[in-house]
């Protein structure tokens, strides 16, 4: 292999983590999980005992045939009761197995459901930073691959581990009961077997890991090429791309073959080692018999009340042979389950990491409440929906003040960095009075979007103050703060559901009429009514059935229906062509009327009519003023406007 450095070490089983999974499992079903465990244990013990009774039946049959006694009625008296005991054991085992299987089906799914919802709930509470710093594909795989491994773990590996473990112990006890030397022989054989299976299984695990990487490489290549398929066609680049794919495909073939070859060979190897061990036992037993060696057993120790030498007999060897297979089979199961569980723990670790992730903290105590005004103009809090809002501000001395919601936003000397040592905003001050339109202009990376991230507290500032209606935003409960801010982003994200559902996302109790009005305001009504099912058209696959511009219009309608006093439009019309934008403009103007609006736009025609335009450069405001003033100043804005600078 060329890439030996990618060989990962075989991971060790993390007992503590496994303990945590089990604790979660028991926590989810404090009665059912122990009950199933008891069922599994008892049924395993019960199902390893019949071998003894069978042996006894054989022994009876044997004595009869050897003594030449063909009298069935005599034998019947001895055999039938034993078979009856056997049957009753079967019944017990059957009932228990049926019970625990049903229970486990129920528990597994319930447990997964609980894990899933907890993960999702936890995820919803995480700060935006988490999503900015983690690949979305990785987060998704926690919900798909890792949850799947958990399912396997709970529904199969754990019960199997318990079953095999109990059987191994029971059989070991029985074997010791019969003969210690024979047991020693078997154990030696089993150790050899486990050794081989570890070797082969380890090889398989190693290549499965490599296969995973090869699969990821193939997926990456395929994804890139499928997305770029049209470019490939335009450049007639099919052959080169095919050659590239064949190379990656060949590597995948190599590792996939090896991984499966090892895995496939494991079964026959283990089974036949079991067969050979059987022969070894038979031969050793034969030797013991012929040599007339004395047997040492726990039975002998107990019944003969002391160490009494008893010679080996056929009655010992024959049941032993039968137990060999059972024993080896289950030891092997045990070692395989330990392997799968070790692998599953990697998935469990990722899931717990997500759940342990620190939630977005919210120590805000100023809340947004419905209000009305009494005859003196004082604010009174009400439970009903009045359409007027006020900030409810409890103070340390137990008093309450109400501040009407107006939409006055000020930033004062704000510094910020996504990482503590890399400051991206320097001493930013912005004063936006209610109803004003404030625009941010600047190159990519100048910090325009960052400012809006701070106003709604997706990120927290390092220094300075941001005030909303004169209240420090740190004191405002985050959900209420965000409720008072409407955002429309450049990358429009829609949810599956109808167009109507998507608009209603802005205000869940809006009527259909309100939603349609919002759409009209945003200029979206026109194309929506032309869709096959109008407002009931299903949005699929993040709106793949709509154009980017149409998605933006829906997003604007969504923000409009929320009717917030402050709106942030971050490149909200970038994908709408200038002609359509001109048509939408009137609606947009109406939408912005009476609101404080922050606009970030690439296209200067969008920001020209703002009350104040801030030109940002490398995290600092370098120019501010109205369009007229900035043009007159002949500074950076003027150069941008005349196309002498490139906006990126």
């Amino acid at each position: 292999m060329s890439n030996n450095n990618t060989v990962q070490k075989k991971p060790k089983l993390d007992i503590k983590l496994l303990g945590r999974v089990v604790k979660y499992l028991v926590g989810a079903y404090p009665r059912l999980v122990p009950l199933s465990a008891v069922c599994i244990i008892v049924s395993s013990v019960v199902s390893s005992i019949p071998a003894i009774f069978m042996q006894k039946v054989f022994a009876v049959v044997n004595t009869y045939t050897e003594s030449g006694n063909f009298d069935w009625s005599g034998a019947k008296k001895e055999i039938v009761p034993m078979v009856l005991i056997l049957i009753s054991m079967y019944v017990v085992s059957l009932v228990l197995i049926a019970l625990w299987r049903q229970l486990m089906a129920y528990i597994t799914q319930g447990f997964l459901n609980k894990m899933r919802t907890q993960m999702f709930d936890g995820m919803q509470n995480l700060p935006i930073k988490y999503f900015d710093t983690h690949k979305h594909g990785d987060i998704m795989s926690y919900y798909t691959n890792d949850i799947d491994t958990l399912r396997e773990l709970v529904s199969q590996s754990l019960p199997q581990l318990l079953t095999s473990g109990v059987i191994v112990l029971t059989v070991l006890c029985i074997m010791l009961w019969y003969s210690i030397p024979m047991t020693a022989v078997i154990i030696l054989g089993v150790i050899a077997m486990v050794f081989v299976s570890k070797k082969v299984g380890g090889g398989s695990a190693k290549y499965f890991m490599r296969q995973q990487k090869a699969v990821a490489d193939t997926e990456g290549y395929v994804q890139e090429m499928m997305n770029g398929q049209k470019v490939i066609k335009v450049f007639c680049h099919e052959q080169q791309v095919k050659d590239g794919f064949d190379k990656i495909n060949g590597e995948l073939n190599k590792v996939s073959f090896r991984a499966h070859a090892y895995a496939n060979m494991l079964g026959p190897i283990i089974m036949n080692i079991g067969n050979i061990l059987y022969v070894v036992c038979a031969v050793v037993g034969g030797i013991f018999l012929t040599v007339g060696m004395t047997n040492v057993s726990f039975r002998g120790l107990i019944t003969a009340s002391g160490f009494t030498a008893v010679a080996f007999s056929i009655d010992i060897i024959v049941p032993f042979l039968n137990m060999t297979k059972q024993f080896t089979g289950n030891v092997n199961q045990l070692s395989q389950q330990v392997n799968t569980i070790t692998m599953a723990m990697a998935g469990a670790r990722r899931i717990f990491d997500l759940m342990d992730e620190k939630a977005e903290d919210d120590d805000g105590y100023v809340t947004l409440v419905n209000c009305k005004y009494d005859e003196n103009g004082n604010v009174i809090e009400t439970a009903e929906h009045t359409g007027s809002w006020a900030w409810k501000h409890p103070h340390g001395d137990g008093t309450l003040t109400y501040t009407p919601l107006r939409g006055d936003v000020t930033l004062n000397g704000v510094d910020f960095g996504y990482e503590p040592d890399k400051q991206v905003l320097h001493d930013i001050s912005v004063y936006a009075e209610p109803g004003q339109k404030v625009a941010f202009v600047g190159a990519t990376g100048a910090g325009k979007t960052t400012i809006t991230n701070l106003i709604n507290r997706f990120y927290d500032i390092a220094d300075g103050k941001i005030r909303y209606d004169g209240i420090n935003v740190n004191k405002i409960k985050k959900s209420d703060l965000r409720r008072s801010l409407g955002i429309v982003l450049q990358d429009t994200n829609l949810f599956s559901g109808t167009v109507m559902d998507n608009i209603r996302y802005g205000c869940l109790d809006a009527t259909d009429e309100q939603c349609i009005n919002a759409a009209k305001l945003a200029g979206a009504d026109g194309f929506i009514t032309l869709l096959p099912k109008g407002y009931d058209t299903e949005v699929t696959n993040n709106g793949a059935n709509l154009s980017q511009g149409q998605r933006q219009l829906i997003a604007i309608a969504r923000a409009a229906v929320a009717d917030p006093p402050v709106m942030i439009l971050d490149e909200a019309t970038s994908s709408i062509d200038t002609r359509t934008e001109a048509i939408v403009q009137r609606g947009m103007d109406k939408l912005m009327e009476g609101r404080t609006v922050f606009v970030i736009a690439h296209r200067l025609s969008t920001v020209m009519n703002s009350d104040v335009i801030m030109v940002l450069d490398h995290g600092s405001i370098i120019e501010r003023g109205s369009h007229k003033k900035l043009i007159a100043d002949k500074g950076t804005y003027y150069q941008l406007y005349t196309g002498a600078f490139e906006l990126e």
């Binding site: 009298d71 899933r116 999503f131 050979i276 955002i487």
Partner: protein
Amino acid sequence: MIKRLAKCVREYKLPTILTLIFIVLEAVIESIIPFITSQLVNNIKAGAVLGDIIRTGLLLAGMAIISLCCGGAAGFTSAKASAGFSTNLRHDLFEKIQTYSFSNIDKFSSSSLVTRLTTDVTNVQMSYMMLIRIAVRAPLMLVFSVIMAYVMGGALATTFVIVIPVLAFGLILIARKAMPAFTRVFRKYDKLNESIEENVRAMRVVKGFSREEYEKAKFKTASDDICADFTKAERIVALNAPLMQICIYFNMAVVLIIGSRIVITSGGSTIDIGELSSMLTYGFQILMQLMMLSMIYVILTMSAESAKRISEVLSEVPTIQNPENAVTEVSDGSIEFENVYFAYTIGVRRQTLENVNIRIGSGMTVGILGGTGSGKSSFARLIPRLYDVTSGTVKVGGVDVRDYDITALRSAVSMVLQKNLIFSGTISENLRWGDENATDDEIRAACELAQADGFISSFPDGYETKIEQGGTNVSGGQKQRICIARALLKKPKILILDDSTSAVDTKTDALIRAGFDKYIPDTTRIIVAQRVSSVQNADMIIVMDNGRIESVGKHDELLKSSPIYREIYEQQTRGGDSDEQ
């Protein structure tokens, strides 16, 4: 469908056949082993003559070793065959997709093609391995075991034969009941995952609207629903184990009672005690094989869906193919549209392009303007035959584009697509897509023309700068200019820019156009744009509206004659005179 996939086995027929041979051998030996085992038990019983024990033991050990070799070899060859088969499948799929036209790609969507090439192929690979190993082994073992049981136990073996149909019926019933339940659950599961993905992607929207609790509630409902369905399905499957146990236990009890009776009354002459214990092993083996068969049934039905999706891709007919006796030389860069109608899908009420007639002379610069959905991009896409017209003809160099060899046509007609895509690899590797044998000087010249040399040279690694997947480490405007340079390297007779300078500032945009006039004056240039400034100096401007040509002319003429052109112009120049500079 199976025939279509079977074609991909190709050079892996030998390992497949070898697997089958090894599996048959293994199955035969494995069904004899319990018989030998019973001999060994008898040997011990018969007074344990060491010689006998060792002889039978060696026989058994020998068989075990042969079985091990056969089983191991089968594992090896089956892995070879199935990995190879899937490699061929992937190769064929990928190759087939390369022959797809734009409309074929649109039909499948790239994300679904990715799934088909990855997950679906893996599913089929696993089923293929199952099929050649277990699906052959299980019925064989079943038959052999029944035969051996009859050979050893005579009439006693009939108990197994009675149990087999009962168990088979039960297992099939369970599989039948469980399968639709599982298909339903998996579909819902996919939906749930989609909604998780939506949330992860749209987290800013969720948080921006403070919809966390709403999303949690929505998720819980969906997750609970899946949980209930899944539990139902799993509980049906959980019936397998007890059913199996009942059959095994029934067999054991019957064999013990009746068997002992036969042994005793016949004095061990019909069956002896060793054979009796082997009968139990055979009984167990028979039932295990049935279990295997039902498992295979489930897995095969589940992967049938994947197989179907793969064969859909393989049997798709590319809508654009090379004609026979194709013309391989494009004489000049003239373009002609004659009564062209075009629609992306058949049967729509309004076509994307309707009755388009235009003549563009070689070496002209043509601007195309119009609102979203006016058909300006569609117009451009017909020239390199990315799509075929519904009716009418498109001619390049005086020849119908459908008569050209596609590679020849597309080498002569270079198009920069709206979606600027560059691939992972270095910048120069990306540029060489245009011309593999381009010298460094040629590359630099193309980049200078596209105004890309400046920023590329400013990178520490210059032209050897690595582009990350998706081109995330260069800006939109830089990407556009790399794309233009890449298209220029083809030295085309016709160059089409489909809104390719939207992220480039007006000054650079103008520089690029000026460069075209100076260095490639003989190349016909088609510029689809949103900015009037990008096209106003063109020899000819085509204004599109609702799939039709609204008007054609020069800037000054159109200002007078075309209301749409005038509107766009005024809207863009309102409040400033920047474009005149």
